[in-house]
């Protein structure tokens, strides 16, 4: 009675393995296998990106990708490993989430890696920031929310995904730009923050489009504004903060980085692979289906993006660190 299901299971496993892309001729200088360190648990946002990107990248480069999940300290365990203990021959890379990548060590001295100990390869997606309220919230527009905060400073409750996350900093940027003061309520991730807004437990949640898109579409949440350069094609009726006179563009980005000083040829091959990937129409269509906002920035430009973020966020943190925690 045991043999049958077990045999079926083995057959399925065997089929699954045989279906996975076989290694092609190894022309990548970093070897025929690339280990991807993931700083978060399987099934999270980083993993979703990995499952979308890596099978295609695997065909382009002719290598196999092996995911190694090492969650802990909001990604810092994996990124410390990348910067300090990984071979710099191009055989190990990591999914790097910004701004968390830098806010981790800006805020905590005990986290010792730095972004200059890494070789940024390519940013792939940027999930723009968004302001959402519950469907029955009295705030119909972003101006209503501003007015409420102006009337009674420090009482309008704004959920974020945690101290140090992008939403936390976006709230501070908005406060500084508008001279407002909100009550910032941290949650353990974007999901709980959105759920609290949905239940009317907090006045608004500063979140990311990809996390709340389904809830906004179905009417459980109302989007008041997005922190993007232009209106999003997926949410054409939602104004940008720029339109409202607030020059804040922010979001959470995910890309790939390698340890410092990897062979120039390996770096170039990886960068070119991402550039090829970005042009793939099937990849673009799949990303859109998953509400992933593609923002492919490669090589030196990704380095510049990371450096700018580092100095920006260091400045914000220095200006507010004494108030946090009251």
């Amino acid at each position: 009675m045991h043999a049958k299901p077990l045999r079926h299971w083995l057959t399925i496993a065997a089929v699954a393995i045989s279906l996975s892309p076989l290694a092609q001729a190894a022309d990548y200088v970093g070897g025929d296998e690339i280990t991807v360190l993931q700083g978060f648990k399987p099934g999270g946002g980083s993993d979703a990106l990995a499952q979308l990107v890596q099978p295609r990248l695997s065909e382009i480069l002719g290598v196999d990708f092996v995911n190694e999940y090492m969650p802990g300290a909001t990604g810092a365990v994996a990124w410390t490993r990348l910067a300090k203990q990984s071979p710099n021959d191009g055989s190990t890379i990591s999914i790097t989430n910004t701004p968390m990548l830098m806010t981790n060590y800006i805020m905590n001295d005990a986290i010792t890696y730095k972004t200059d100990e890494m070789t940024p390869i390519a940013n792939v997606v940027t999930d723009p920031g968004i302001v959402v309220v519950s469907a029955d919230s009295p705030y119909q527009t972003i101006e209503d929310l501003f007015a409420a905060a102006e009337q009674s400073p420090g009482t309008v409750t704004i959920g974020n995904s945690g101290v140090g996350g992008d939403d936390f900093f976006t709230t501070i940027l908005l406060e500084q730009a508008k001279g407002l003061s909100f009550k910032k309520v941290p949650f353990q991730g974007d999901g709980p923050s959105a759920t609290a807004a949905m239940g009317g437990k907090i006045d608004a949640s500063f979140n990311n489009v990809g996390n709340v898109y389904g809830q906004v579409e179905s009417g459980n949440l109302r989007a008041l504004a997005v922190f993007a350069e232009k209106r999003l094609t997926s949410l054409p009726d939602v104004p940008t903060m720029k339109e409202k006179g607030v020059d804040v563009v922010a979001g959470s980005s995910r890309g790939y980085s390698a340890p410092a000083d990897i062979p120039a040829e390996a770096r170039q091959q990886l960068i070119e692979a991402f550039q090829t990937l970005a042009k793939d129409p099937d990849f673009q269509a799949q990303a859109e289906k998953r509400a992933m906002n593609l923002d492919v920035v490669t090589g030196d430009d990704y380095r510049a993006m990371i450096d700018k973020m580092e100095s920006d966020y260091r400045e914000i943190w220095d200006s507010v660190k004494d108030q946090v925690g009251r």
């Binding site: 009675m1 045991h2 049958k4 299901p5 077990l6 079926h8 299971w9 399925i12 496993a13 699954a16 996975s20 648990k41 399987p42 099934g43 999270g44 993993d47 979703a48 499952q51 190694e68 999940y69 090492m70 969650p71 802990g72 300290a73 909001t74 810092a76 365990v77 410390t80 805020m107 905590n108 005990a110 986290i111 409750t157 945690g162 101290v163 140090g164 009550k183 910032k184 309520v185 941290p186 949650f187 353990q188 999901g191 709980p192 759920t195 949905m198 239940g199 437990k201 907090i202 898109y213 389904g214 809830q215 579409e217 179905s218 459980n220 289906k289 998953r290 509400a291 946090v324 925690g325």
Partner: protein
Amino acid sequence: MDSSLVMIGLTNVISVNNIACILGGTLLGLFVGAMPGLSATMALALLLPLTFSFDPATGLSMLASLYVGASYGGSIAAILLRTPGTPSAAATVLDGFPLSQQGKAGQALGISLFASFFGGLMSGIALLTAAPLLGTLVLEFGPVELFAIAVLGITIIGSLAQGSVISGLLSGGLGLLLSTVGMDLTTGTPRMTFGQINLFAGIDFTVALIGLFSVPQALTLIENSHRGGKVASRITDRLMPRWRTIKQLMPNILRSSGIGIVVGLIPGTGGDTASWFAYNEAKRFARDKSRFGKGEIAGVAAPEAANNAVVGGALIPTIALGIPGSSSTAILLGALMVQGILPGPNLLTDYGDVTYTLIWAVILANIALLVVGLAFTKMSVSVTRIPDGFIACAILTLCIIGAFAINNSLFDVGLMLGFGLFGYWMSKAGVSPAPMVIGLILGPVMETSFQQSMLIGNDSFGVFLESPIATVLLILALLSILQATPFFRWLRVPFKRRLKPD
């Protein structure tokens, strides 16, 4: 509810491929659950990448049945070896192992299997019929309400302190204290981490649980291995419980399943919490409380019905709203996302075919559990014929693998061994590790939700009285504390006198 989608789901599930996946998933779940150190969440995480190449319905069926299987499997090791196979089977140890020592391991395992089956089936039916209705209930539970639940849960420590209340409170307090290790939610400040970044995310309570329960048991087995004359090495009693026993346990099973469904619903609490709640309530409602902890079958049925009912309960908000009710369902939701299905309230409508397949898979997995479980349990009982010394080594090996697999971190292995030595000392000193585990589970929930509540309520404790749910739960907590003190006995004294006029 769209009945055509329900039928599509059913017909999707009843294919050779999917049934094979469900049977395979259940068996794998039983195996993983039975191994101390490997938990359902971990097995889901490990299996997840394999299902990426499957069709969504097949992959989900397999993951769901694995979840169901593991929820029961944990009790096998808990009963036979005093080492909970999964965190949610920790409460089963209290009465399951004494039963096994009395030579009634078969009875305990049978009760556990049937309670799991009924709990799982009830939650599956709740999932099929009332998901949209119950799903909206989740939104009522914000930080304020979650804090009240955590407080109510902490009061269980009082009633679990077997023997000495002082040592029980010490153990519980220590658990709460250890749960504060890690980054402070509102300030981002690392507390008691000694600059060790592996501690930033706090102490994973699964790591602590493996150490506290399994390592001391392995050491005790080694200690006694040369003595010979093993007790309870043969199962002489029957596995299938008598109909009379099941009927007698039914109110308990129904109550525990209800607790499991509700606790599963609420994001932030799962099987580990539900089993303790159910155990505590079974004890509260029992006529003879003194038998608990010494081999009471009701003490096995309650946590096992509850932790399997959590599966359906936790899936309710997941499919109704796209909000995961537990860490395991968060992985299932991740599986949907990777398959290109965006989680949201449209899971029951736009992706109804996949979602109803998942629901039917949960129900069928419970039936598969009964069939596969009977055979698997009979087989696993043979573990007791292996000499203690070998078992001890196997337990230790599994502990190390399990602790490592949680975060792929060697640091966690060291932490687990540290907890193991401490747990060994505790068992020698007669201090129960159960309150400590509750402290570790509920401590972070309580602290986080308290800080959030204070922010939302502008630093006023009044915020807890403004929410009717929180108020009721906090009153229940107060009553629960008073019940553990002589207070009620004093109240009853005058009435008792009147009843006895002579």
